[in-house]
C-alpha cells in the first residue's frame, strides 16, 4: 500500500528552463508564427483543391467524394507483387468498411472542410493547438493509408506547435482568446460570466481573504467555481482541494505549515 501511495503521489515535475523557453515563453512567438503560417498555408492549399475548382471533392453534379473513393480503393488494394500500401490490417478493414458503405459521400465533406478550417485557424492563430492536433490527426491517417508525400513533415511541425500551444498563437487571436476563455481547470472571464451563479465562495478558501469575482484566480471543482485571493493561494488550493473545500472528498493529510 505504501509502495502504491509513493508511486502515485502527486509530484509536479518541472520542465528544464530550455524547454520552457522554447514552448512556454513568448520570445519565440515569431518563430512559432512562421511554423504556424507554413502549416496553415499547406492545409488551406490542400483544402482549397477539395472545395474549389474543377477537381473538387464536394458539391459536384454527381455523388460527392468520388476522388476520395478512388484514394481509398487504391489504398486498400493488395498487389500481387510487392507490399500493400497499408501495413495494418485493422486500418484496411476500416477503410474497406467505409468504401462498402459509401461513407466517402459525407466523409469527403469532413476532410475538405476540415482541412480548410484547420488552415484558417492556424493562419489567424485561433485555437492553434487544437488546430495543429486536428491537422496531425489527418496527417496520421494519410500516413496510415500509405500516403507519405509531405505528411511526415507537416506531422512533425504540427506536433511541435501542439507542444507550444500556449505561445504558438501569441501573434494571433489566441493572445486574447485563450486568456478570455481560460481552461477547464482555470476558467477565464468569459466562462466566469457564464458561470456567475456557480461561484461557490466569497472568501478565499485558503486564507479567508475577500475575493474579487472579476479578477481573482479561479478553479473549478464539482461543477462549481472557487475563487482564490491570489495565485499563491490558488496553487495551494489546486494542490490539495479536499483540504480547503468542505465536502469535496477525504482530506489529504499534510504536515503543519510553519
Amino acid at each position: 500500500m505504501a509502495l502504491l501511495q509513493r508511486t502515485f503521489e502527486k509530484r509536479d515535475l518541472r520542465d528544464p528552463s530550455l524547454i520552457r523557453a522554447i514552448f512556454s515563453n513568448t520570445w519565440l512567438a515569431p518563430l512559432w508564427l512562421l511554423a504556424r503560417l507554413y502549416l496553415g498555408y499547406q492545409w488551406l492549399l490542400a483544402g482549397s483543391h477539395k472545395v474549389w475548382g474543377e477537381g473538387r471533392w464536394i458539391a459536384v453534379g454527381g455523388p460527392d467524394g468520388l476522388p476520395l473513393r478512388s484514394f481509398w480503393e487504391r489504398a486498400i488494394a493488395i498487389p500481387e507483387q510487392g507490399r500493400p500500401a497499408i501495413t495494418y490490417d485493422w486500418y484496411r478493414d476500416f477503410l474497406t468498411f467505409m468504401v462498402n458503405h459509401e461513407w466517402y459521400r459525407w466523409f469527403s465533406w469532413v476532410i475538405a472542410l476540415g482541412e480548410t478550417t484547420v488552415g484558417i485557424l492556424l493562419i489567424v492563430g485561433a485555437f492553434a493547438g487544437l488546430a495543429a492536433l486536428a491537422g496531425a490527426f489527418m496527417n496520421f491517417n494519410f500516413m496510415l493509408a500509405g500516403s507519405a508525400s509531405i505528411n511526415p513533415v507537416l506531422f512533425v511541425i504540427a506536433l511541435l506547435i501542439l507542444f507550444g500551444w500556449k505561445t504558438a498563437g501569441w501573434i494571433g487571436v489566441d493572445r486574447w482568446l485563450l486568456p478570455a476563455l481560460g481552461t477547464p481547470w482555470q476558467p477565464g472571464p468569459v466562462f466566469r460570466r457564464v458561470l456567475k451563479g456557480r461561484v461557490a465562495n466569497e472568501a478565499c478558501p485558503v486564507c479567508q481573504m475577500p475575493v474579487d469575482p472579476a479578477r481573482s484566480p479561479a478553479s473549478a471543482y464539482n461543477g462549481l467555481i472557487y475563487l482564490s485571493c491570489c495565485p499563491v493561494c490558488k496553487e495551494r488550493l489546486d494542490a490539495q482541494p479536499a483540504r480547503y473545500i468542505v465536502g469535496l472528498g477525504p482530506a489529504i493529510p499534510v504536515p503543519a505549515e510553519g
Binding site: 498555408y41 488551406l44 474549389w52 500556449k166 487571436v173 486568456p179
Partner: protein, 66 residues
C-alpha cells in the same frame, strides 16, 4: 476608444486575415508558394500591429497567458 470598439477592431483585423488568406490561396494557390506566403505574412503583420496598437492598449491589465 471604448472597449467594444477596440474589440471589434481587433476581431475585424483578424477576420480580414482569414478572408485575404482564403482569397489568395483559393484563387492563386499552388502557382508560387513564396508569392502566396508573403502577402499572408503581410496581412498577419498588419493585424498584429492593429492588435498591439489598438486592442492591447485598450484592454490593459488583462490576464496574460493561461
Amino acid at each position: 476608444m471604448n472597449k467594444a470598439l477596440a474589440l471589434v477592431t481587433g476581431v475585424t483585423a483578424w477576420a480580414a486575415v482569414a478572408v485575404v488568406a482564403v482569397l489568395i490561396v483559393f484563387n492563386m494557390g499552388g502557382k508560387n508558394q513564396v508569392f502566396m506566403f508573403l502577402p499572408i505574412l503581410a496581412v498577419v503583420a498588419a493585424a498584429w500591429a492593429i492588435g498591439e496598437l489598438v486592442t492591447e492598449r485598450v484592454f490593459t491589465g488583462h490576464e496574460k497567458g493561461v
